[in-house]
């Protein structure tokens, strides 16, 4: 029996071979290649030369990289809490089984299926000066127009608004799924105790979905650090680089300036940042729930 088990043991690995092959080809190999590129002076079209950690030194000494890193951190710091709070609010509001709530769930999720090009086109119509929706509204109420896409501070804010509108569907759906897992008898007991809606929210609902809130927050941190399309299409990273995120920096250095080694070094730094967020997600997801009293 033991011999048979030992003989069959390695064959069990064949079941994971298809996944493992794809994992190695699409993830492990590009990651290793990226590390190799980051240690070389290389462009897109041929072999490079080994330069050690020089690309990392150049990246960390580049004020444009530091500005892009700061932009990305600020963007994540503002967009993620907004996505979590708005997603939770919508999920709470739509956690009912009526036709209207089904319609609104579909409506709020519908923006998520649009491509980044369409999303940015819609929001350009809103923010563009002159004929844009905001410009017209400001004119109607007699306020001076704001260059939403061309003013420092406002440009990153505008990209953030478009991003929240685009990405809100997933957090809302995850929260809805979590809310529907809460046993209804808890709410019935609260009703018998005549608990206020706020008390029900803070003592039953939020504690019950605490891990989902963390999960959503960490997924969004990972996603929003990868901001690219909205910033490129709405503001081109401007003005003065104030809305240029890290991925756009990597793209410009690699594809516009052909400095692929430096771009790869910046990519590895971004990878480390996202890895930290993913590790936090793993720790939280695998943490055992506290024993109930």
């Amino acid at each position: 029996m033991a011999e048979s088990y030992r003989r069959s043991h390695w064959k069990n690995g064949l079941f994971v071979l298809p996944y493992l092959s794809v994992f190695v080809v699409l993830l492990v190999f590009p990651l290793a290649w990226g590390v190799w590129l980051s240690l070389h002076k290389v462009d897109l079209f041929g072999p490079g030369r080994f330069v050690g950690l020089n690309n990392y030194v150049r990246v960390l000494a580049d004020p444009v990289f530091l500005q892009a890193l700061r932009n990305s951190v600020v963007f994540v710091a503002f967009s993620v809490p907004t996505l979590v709070v708005l997603g939770l609010f919508l999920a709470l509001a739509l956690n009912r089984t009526t036709r209207a709530t089904s319609f609104f769930r579909g409506l709020f999720f519908s923006s998520s299926v649009l491509s980044v090009t369409i999303v940015t086109l819609i929001w350009r119509f809103v923010f563009i000066p002159g004929d844009g929706l905001m410009a017209v509204l400001f004119e109607q109420v007699g306020l001076p127009p704001i260059g939403f896409l061309s003013t420092s501070g406002w440009s990153l804010f505008s990209v953030g608004v478009a991003t929240v509108w685009w990405c809100l569907g997933l957090p809302m759906m995850l929260f809805l799924a979590a809310l529907q897992q809460i046993p209804s008898d808890l709410y019935e007991a609260a009703a018998l105790d005549n608990a206020s809606p706020l008390r029900v929210l803070t003592r039953i609902t939020l504690p019950s979905i605490a891990r989902t809130i963390m999960l959503v927050a960490i997924i969004q941190i990972v996603m929003q650090f990868q901001l690219f399309g909205q910033a490129q299409l709405m503001t081109n990273g401007g003005p003065n680089g104030t809305s240029r995120p890290l991925v756009m920096y990597i793209y410009e250095v690699g594809f516009v300036r052909w400095d692929v080694g430096k771009a790869a070094a910046a990519s590895e730094i971004l990878f480390l940042i996202i890895l930290c967020a993913a590790m936090a997600q793993y720790v939280i997801a695998t943490r055992k729930p506290e024993a109930s009293e």
């Binding site: 150049r58 000066p129 061309s150 003013t151 081109n236 990273g237 410009e252 300036r257």
Partner: protein, 436 residues
Amino acid sequence: MRRLLFSSVAIAALAFGPAAHANTMIELQRFFGACDADYGKVTDVSAAVGECGIITALINKFEADNPGIDVNVTTVEWPGYDQLNAQLASGAAPDVVSMHYSAISDYQTRGLIEPIDPVLAAQGILPDSFTDAARNGVTKEEQMFGLPFDNWTMLFHVNLNLMKQAGLVNADGTPILPTSVEELVTQGKQFKEKTGKPYLVQILANETATYARILYTLLQQQNADFFADPLKITLNTPEAKTAVETMKRIKDEGLTTVGLDYPAAVSAFANGDGGIAVNGTWLIGDYVAQSEKSGTALSGGYTVYPVPQLFPGRDSTYSDGHSWVMPRKDRSPEQVEAIGKLFKFLAENDFQWARTGHLPAVKAVFDMEQFKSLPHRSNIAEIAQTGQSLPAAVQRQFAIQDIIGEEVGAAVNGDKSVEEALGSAESRINDLLANL
């Protein structure tokens, strides 16, 4: 059964027989926009207007005239070099690509595009049939690396209706344009006072190219040799400071539109939101068409001039051009011949392309009566002499343009001091060029 088999084979042979004489396919990749809805079937090139319309109609006409050749057109967002780079890196480059003269050095030095002299020679196209400016733009190491198609530059597109309202029109109907920075400011203030609108319509948002082109022009007009060494730019100079301060002053005095990106600036001028659009040659055809319609802001009141000489150094304006290049790849002799025919067709129809507003690359077009009778061409003819590009050995000109645009934009919009922006631009560009 056997009869059935033979019948099937015979039918298959008839059905697939023409495959033996399949058309030669050319994969052509270009910018200039997409307009298939309007021009997808148009073969009468003279009926087309604007860059997109004319190039689409030209390709349609070429296919109609050459039934054995199919041209598969891929339209990319301007300028399309990031996509081309990815295609070259993955060995999937198209056969023919639109390319600015200023980008050719990047690809030629890495051996990514082929010299086209043999292709032109096989079709009997003589190199000296092109203008010097166009030929120099594509010639590297004494070989031509692209078919020159035009020369272009930034211009002053003038709304004469508003200029009349502002009292800035001569007795002969021509606009009064500035001959110095002080005159520009004075006339701009007068225009604003009389019309309530900004004097200039500029692309100041989400765009880097315009800032760079205007800076190059103002530097050239001061005789500044900012690229004496092709691997090093010099921007910490009094001339550069004066140029950027001039651009900033125009904005600070309220003489320009602000916050407009490219499409918004193009339509703002067409809507009559300002007096003079600082934009390229390629818009002449479109604006002329609008001026010929009634009920538009430009109706009967459009003209165009080169960017005026604002500094006493010399009359100069930054110029570049479009060409067609052949990425290095394996091609059949039939494909090379088909590309040669396409190049010959494009060169022979350079007049049609010149209707966009671009200056022709083919010398003979300048002598054509049809060209001479195109509106406003005599106003801008001097660009053939005053247009000046960056030195051909300067690489990564588009990346440099992005850096200059970002830094000068920061200075113009008050996010940085002029000195800080020029210092930052210089160090960023020199770091880029030191790590080619």
